[in-house]
């Protein structure tokens, strides 16, 4: 919308507001008796007073022969007549029933008290988890200065480094060729690409060797003979063959920007870090309602939350577009071959060892990826990641962190996927309890807190969706926003299910690697041409 229209709308809104305020004195010219407050109907307990005529009766009721006041000798209202000949001497007051009962006097029975405590504690717990999630989500936009630090500030390094880009691939014959060609044409003088293929994967090997043949000086193919196969083992196979100072890891379906390496080495130089994590972004917001949420999840993670973890010196790294100094990797012994989230694990290990990590996100040079194809694939992916987090937690490398605060942060971060899933799944219970349970009003307000925070989070996500569309040139329609909001709870259910599944698998000791397959959807219909950074 052109700015003119927006201003006109705002001006009309303000005028409407002022008009409403000015003319609220007499909207419809009605005949309501002005100035009279609404009659307040009696509430409950007091409506059983007798049906007495409201006309005032002057004078006291007749006194009886002995001079006592008959007010204390009343009528029964039934068959029993008034008493005759009673001598009564009250103090001028009628005998009265007990004064109005003290409403707070009744003690609360124990089961109800336990319910109140449970509600309040659970609500506060949910609120705490939601609050930290929201706060970390908004880390990058906390102030303009901080937003500036999240990007690449320096554009060129003083001296070029030699990069070794490792590209493990398994059953990726559809996408691998394009990826290798793109990687071979990056805008950097000194780098090599090492493609790691499993020995039992002839189709992918065929594609890889064909592509390598076209760029012989840059691309090499390395065979991985480990059994069973997984990504860390593939990476470890390539590590001894790396000739570069810096090892970068890419996935087979990545769409890498040509100018990325220059920016990354500039980042290494300006920050003096040992590890640089550049941005990864899922692009297919319009494929389905959950792919929309998945893309936004990545957006918040790489744009904002990772920067928070980097500041805290405890970072679960991504497995993609991450660059580490080769010497450091070799000293640390490479990746853990048995961990399902090897990226998180190496990040924890390096952080614990004191390595400095720099994160940088620039929408123009972000590595583009696609979401899993189906909900089932998504669940498998998340199960693997969650199980990996659990394995990292159980491995206990994080216990070597120096301060207690960092260790608690480590525990919290590693538990976060489970806590978030629980929060999302429990939220309808909180909403239901608010309206269905009869609890005192302050406790109802306490159960409202997590829901309120969830609504704030949804508003922030809607704002981020708009920014995403603007930065990547994708047109976001109102329908997308509606899908985003409506998909909040179902997506939380999916994540909760994946979390439960991961716990189940870990208990059973099932550590097999469930691989996600890719179909090049993010490359079909790429929206805007990638300009050189």
């Amino acid at each position: 919308m052109p700015r003119f229209n927006r201003t006109a709308v705002a001006l009309c809104a303000v005028l409407a507001f002022v008009g409403l305020v000015i003319f609220s004195g007499r909207p419809f010219g009605n005949d309501v008796r002005a100035g009279a407050p609404p009659p307040v109907p009696a509430s409950g307990a007091d409506t059983q007073s007798a049906e007495q005529p409201p006309s005032p009766q002057f004078g006291a009721p007749p006194t009886d022969s002995q001079g006592g006041e008959q007010r204390s000798v009343g009528s029964s209202g039934g068959a029993l007549p008034r008493a005759d000949g009673v001598q009564a001497a009250s103090g001028g007051t009628k005998p009265q029933a007990q004064p109005m009962p003290d409403p707070g006097a009744r003690p609360v029975p124990l089961p109800q008290l336990i319910l109140y405590y449970v509600l309040v504690i659970v609500s506060l717990g949910l609120f705490g988890v939601s609050a930290t999630t929201l706060w970390w989500m908004l880390h990058a936009w906390h102030s303009p200065e901080r937003l500036a630090t999240t990007g690449f500030r320096r554009r060129h390094a003083g001296a070029h480094r030699f990069f070794s880009l490792v590209l493990p691939a398994r059953h990726e014959q559809a996408v691998l060729g394009d990826t290798i060609h793109a990687l071979a044409r990056l805008d950097h003088p000194y780098y090599e690409v090492i493609v790691v293929i499993g020995h039992d994967d002839p189709e992918t090997e065929h594609v890889a060797r064909a592509a390598a043949a076209r760029h012989p000086r840059i691309v090499r193919v390395v065979m991985d003979h480990n059994v069973p196969k997984n990504k860390p083992k593939a990476l470890n196979t390539a590590l001894p063959r790396c000739r570069g100072d810096i090892v970068g890891v890419f996935d087979a379906e990545d769409d890498v920007h040509p100018g990325l390496l220059r920016l990354v080495e500039a980042r290494f130089e300006e920050s003096g870090a040992d590890v640089v994590q550049a941005g990864v972004q899922l692009m297919n917001v319009q494929t389905s309602w959950w792919s929309l949420r998945n893309c936004l999840e990545y957006y918040f993670w790489f744009r904002s939350r990772l920067h928070f973890h980097a500041d805290q010196r405890f970072i679960p790294l991504g497995g993609n577009t991450v660059f580490t100094r080769t010497a450091l990797l070799r000293r640390a012994g490479g990746w853990d071959p048995h961990c399902l989230a090897e990226d998180c694990e190496i990040g924890v290990r390096l952080s614990t060892g004191g390595a400095r990590v720099a994160v940088a996100y620039d929408p123009r040079v972000v590595t583009r990826e696609e979401t899993p194809h189906s909900v089932k694939a998504l669940v498998k992916q998340r199960t693997r990641w969650n199980q990996g987090f659990l394995q990292v937690f159980r491995k206990g490398e994080w216990r070597k962190l120096p301060s207690r605060r960092q260790r608690w942060l480590a525990r919290y971060t590693l538990a976060m996927p489970f806590l978030q899933a629980a929060t999302g799944a429990l939220l309808p219970l909180a909403v239901a309890s608010m309206f269905l349970l009869k609890v005192p009003v302050p406790i109802t307000l306490a159960t409202f807190l997590p829901l309120a925070l969830m609504l704030v989070t949804m508003a922030v996500e809607a704002a981020a969706l708009g920014e995403f569309g603007r930065e990547f040139g994708i047109r976001i329609r109102m329908w997308d926003r509606v899908r985003l909001l409506l998909g909040t709870f179902p997506y939380q259910l999916i994540l909760a299910f994946a979390a439960l599944r991961s716990v189940w698998r870990e208990i059973r000791g099932d550590g097999g690697w469930e691989k996600t397959s890719h179909a090049n959807a993010h490359r079909a219909g790429t929206p805007a041409p990638r300009a050189a950074a």
């Binding site: 307040v40 068959a79 009564a88 001028g92």
Partner: protein, 892 residues
């Protein structure tokens, strides 16, 4: 010295300004303005929150969201409801603290609006020193609290580093401001404009999203509360939020046009101008000038919105000007600074050069006019005590209005009267008399049910044209008047008591008593005793004294003026040893009910006892010589709450103690005792304690009686009823209702053989003794209904008079049939009436304690508390400003 140099120079300046704000508001805090109805309402609602856990002292009808008085309740929970002498004074101390906080926030806001230090000083000084600001910001209005939250929100929005956390805080503060006073919604355009301009484009969408949703969430807790209480939309039998909003927006009385000299709006404006003739009028050019300065434009828009509200046709709430004051000060100081900077340019244009002198001179003239207009009003604000008449009225009420009487009061003294020990139903806010159905249900007979009306200036202005309140005032006469003019407080007594003739005691009784006292009384006094000029209570008291600790009756003097009117003599003088007189004085002090004394003082003559002027027949007005014949039969049923262990003593009117009975333990009611026929004074006493005279009763020969004792409204008060038990050999039934826990009950009897239930009593209250109704003997099922529940019990009616006694059982009312036939009445227990020495009596009844226990507040702890609060606020601002200064210095 270097540490001082590093200190932000704003700190001492701000400290002085805050101290100035506090001191100007603390001087004459309780004196001016006089306590208002609105203040009393908010304080009463806060009291209801802390005392009873309810949102308001009457039904909460969503006129304002409750956050304001919840904060007031938190304050009074810390300081106590009596801080400063009255409940409203306690609230005013909170207002002073809030005014100091507002002044500090005004400083921060003007500094963040890029005004120089001097301009900020001027802004805070205007706010601190304007008499309108002083007077209104110490009145307990919700607007004061709300404007402090609004200023906090504005300060946070203008965060110099554009932080997102500041947006969270600002939205929450603005939400609380709206929940404190809903008129803060008028500032939404200003706030939205500020949020838009004070955020950078890169983070703007997140700031807006966060601000909007957090604000909406905070405000929606109010809606949620209404939904949870089931009071969102109108429905039968309950208030609703929608009705409250509708009333506030559309159904308020139109204030009239501002140009109309007699309209309500003009009156409001005159009130403001009386306090500060300058600022409300200057607000218009200040707002216009502010619109021209770019960085003050949002604030000027807010100010202009308020001015539009004031000027438009429609309702004008009186405290609306409070919201305008800080903004006026800010915009005035900012505009003045900009204007001054333009005028003092080193390189002015020739036009400016020509006008520089005159403009500066006229500016100085305006300022001096404003100051000179303010000076006379300081006298009223800082020195006059407008509250004296209300305090005097309160003291008079505490001393002279009996605790059980119903009062219609101005809300300003509601809390103080309740804390004085009155029942919640006995102190009724004038505004609710005609508008609240629950209050109307408490007074089913209309104005007759009210005994007193306290009329103040604000209640006089708001009397509805017709209704119970108008009737009560029409039928009332002033009993006491305090103050004059605008601060006049009248205490009116409603004429709802039939003027019955005051009957003196019958000479027959006096003769009997005189015979006993013959050798220990002054002959003149004896003569008076046998005449028809003595108050009945004097006789009864003398009989009891004669039976316990005889003293010499010195005189029964008449009081000037009353002799001619024919009022019976209500004063007596006793002489004797000093110790004995002390005991008797303690005895008289202990009496209550119809036998309460006005005073019992030891003078040179002896013990002078004076009974109040009461219109009460206690049963001694007609009499004759003691009747002869068979003795009567008497039993006592003690149906009081809390069953004290007491004996009932009978003293014949001639001063002889006849005997005692008691209804203790299982024997309640007691068995019949045989008592000679005659007239007796009944007193109750516990062992070792002072006896309390309860009643005078006359027993006819050979008649059975039941004496029932019920609890009265106040603690320790007793209502006694002597009911003759029914005609013998007739199957009849009556009800004695002593069940109080469930409220009024309904009793029905269904014959066991079948048939329609006979409703014996419908809506029988505690303390009811009915007459006898004939009922055939047989088996019945008694059904007692109370409070929506039913209890059933099989009963058998023999052919004798029976009383059904309803008491409170563990599970509800319990029905007990009693035979009203004295088979073999026992003898009375021997009399055990003694007059214990003074000091052995139980502690004075509770209602007296309330009057004694009021601790007088000195101002010193109050001032100390406020200084501590101001110091804490200043320290918090120091930390914030030091950080600000550090960053400023770093970025230079």
């Amino acid at each position: 010295m270097s540490r001082l140099r590093r200190l932000n120079p704003s700190i001492p300046v701000l400290g002085i300004l805050l101290a100035l704000t506090a001191i100007l508001r603390l001087i004459n805090l309780t004196g001016s303005p006089a306590r208002l109805d609105d203040e009393g309402t908010y304080v009463a609602q806060a009291f209801a929150v802390t005392r009873w856990g309810e949102l308001a002292h009457y039904t909460y009808w969503y006129d304002h969201p409750p956050a304001g008085w919840l904060q007031l309740a938190a304050w009074t929970a810390i300081t106590g409801s009596d801080f400063g002498g009255s409940a409203v004074a306690a609230g005013r101390y909170l207002m002073v603290v809030i005014a100091v906080i507002t002044a500090g926030l005004l400083w921060c806001l003007s500094r963040r609006a890029e005004m120089s230090r001097w301009a900020s000083v001027v802004a805070v000084v205007i706010y601190a020193v304007s008499p309108l600001a002083i007077s209104l910001s110490r009145t307990v209005y919700l607007d004061n609290i709300a404007i402090a939250w609004l200023m906090a929100a504005l300060v946070l929005i203008c965060s110099p580093r554009h932080r997102l956390s500041a947006m969270f805080g600002a939205a929450a503060c603005f939400g609380v401001a709206v929940l404190t006073k809903e008129t803060m919604l008028l500032f939404v355009p200003m706030v939205v404009w500020l949020v838009w301009t004070k955020t950078v484009p890169a983070t703007r969408r997140y700031a807006l999203a966060v601000f909007g949703t957090v604000f909406a969430m905070v405000v929606s807790t109010y809606l949620l509360m209404a939904v949870v209480r089931g009071e969102l939309v109108p429905g039968p039998g309950h208030v609703s939020l929608w009705q409250g909003i509708k009333f506030q927006l559309w159904e308020r009385a139109d204030g009239g046009a501002i140009t109309d000299a007699g309209s309500l709006k003009r009156h409001t404006l005159t009130e403001w101008l009386k306090l500060d003739p300058a600022l409300p009028i200057l607000a218009v050019p200040i707002a216009v000038g502010g619109l021209l300065v770019e960085r003050l434009r949002p604030f000027a828009v807010g100010l202009a919105t308020l001015i539009a509200i004031i000027v438009r046709p429609g309702y004008l709430p009186v405290p609306l000007i409070i919201s305008a004051l800080p903004l006026t000060a800010l915009v005035a100081a900012g505009t003045g600074e900009v204007a001054l900077r333009h005028l003092r340019q080193n390189d002015p244009s020739p036009l400016l050069q020509r006008f520089r002198g005159p403009v500066l001179a006229s500016g100085a003239l305006v300022i001096s006019i404003v100051v000179s207009l303010w000076l006379p009003t300081y006298h009223e604000v800082l020195q006059t005590d407008d509250d004296a008449s209300m305090q005097q009225a309160q003291r008079w009420i505490a001393r002279n209005v009996p605790k059980g009487d119903r009062l219609i009061v101005d809300d300003a003294i509601w809390v103080d009267l309740i804390r004085d020990g009155r029942a919640r139903r006995d102190v009724v806010w004038a505004y609710k008399v005609d508008t609240d159905e629950q209050v109307r249900a408490w007074a089913p007979n209309g104005w007759v049910n009210y005994d007193w009306v306290v009329s103040t200036a604000s209640s006089r202005a708001n009397v509805p044209p017709k209704g119970v309140l108008t009737d009560a005032i029409a039928h009332a006469q002033p009993a006491a008047t305090f103050g004059s003019g605008g601060t006049r407080v009248d205490v009116l007594r409603v004429n709802n008591v039939a003027p019955a003739p005051v009957l003196p005691a019958a000479p027959a009784f006096g003769t009997q008593l005189a015979a006993r006292l013959a050798d220990s009384a002054n002959p003149d006094a004896l003569g008076v005793l046998q005449s028809r000029t003595v108050d009945q209570r004097v006789l009864a008291a003398l009989a009891v004294i004669c039976a316990t600790k005889p003293a010499r009756l010195e005189a029964i003097p008449a009081i000037d003026g009353e002799q001619i009117a024919g009022t019976p003599r209500r004063k007596l003088v006793l002489t004797g040893p000093r110790a004995q007189l002390d005991d008797l004085a303690a005895f008289f002090e202990r009496q209550g009910g119809p036998f309460a004394v006005e005073s019992a003082t030891l003078t040179a003559r002896g013990l002078e006892v004076r009974f109040p002027l009461r219109v009460k027949n206690i049963g001694l007005s007609t009499g004759s010589a003691p009747p002869q014949g068979d003795p009567a039969a008497l039993r006592v049923a003690d149906m009081r709450r809390g069953r004290p262990v007491e004996q009932v003593e009978l003293v014949r009117i001639d001063g002889t103690a006849v005997g005692s009975l008691s209804a203790t333990g299982d024997e309640n009611p007691s068995a019949y005792h045989s008592v000679p026929a005659g007239t007796y004074v009944v007193a109750t006493h516990a062992d070792g304690h002072t006896p309390v005279i309860r009643q005078v009763l006359t027993l006819n020969p050979a008649a059975p009686y039941t004496l029932t004792l019920f609890s009265g409204a106040d603690a320790g008060e007793v209502t006694a009823q002597l009911a003759p038990d029914g005609p013998p050999a007739e199957s009849a039934l009556r009800l004695v209702n002593a069940a109080s826990a469930q409220g009024s009950v309904k009793l029905a009897l269904t014959p066991a053989a079948g048939g329609d239930p006979i409703v014996l009593a419908n809506d029988a209250g505690y303390g009811l003794v009915t007459g006898y109704a004939p009922l055939p003997a047989g088996q019945y099922t008694a059904v007692v209904t109370a409070n929506g529940r039913e209890w059933q019990q099989p009963v058998e009616l023999s052919g004798e008079p029976t009383s059904f006694l309803l008491t409170d059982g563990p599970d509800g009312p319990a029905l007990r049939p009693l035979r009203d036939v004295p088979d073999a009445p026992a003898m009375l227990n021997p009399p055990a009436l003694t007059m214990p020495p003074a000091g052995a009596g139980p502690p004075a009844p509770a209602e007296k304690q309330h009057a004694i226990a009021r601790v007088s507040e000195s101002a010193l702890p109050a001032v100390a508390g406020v200084c501590v609060a101001a110091a804490i606020v200043a320290l918090a601002l120091i930390r914030g400003l030091k950080g600000l200064a550090g960053r400023r210095r770093g970025s230079r």
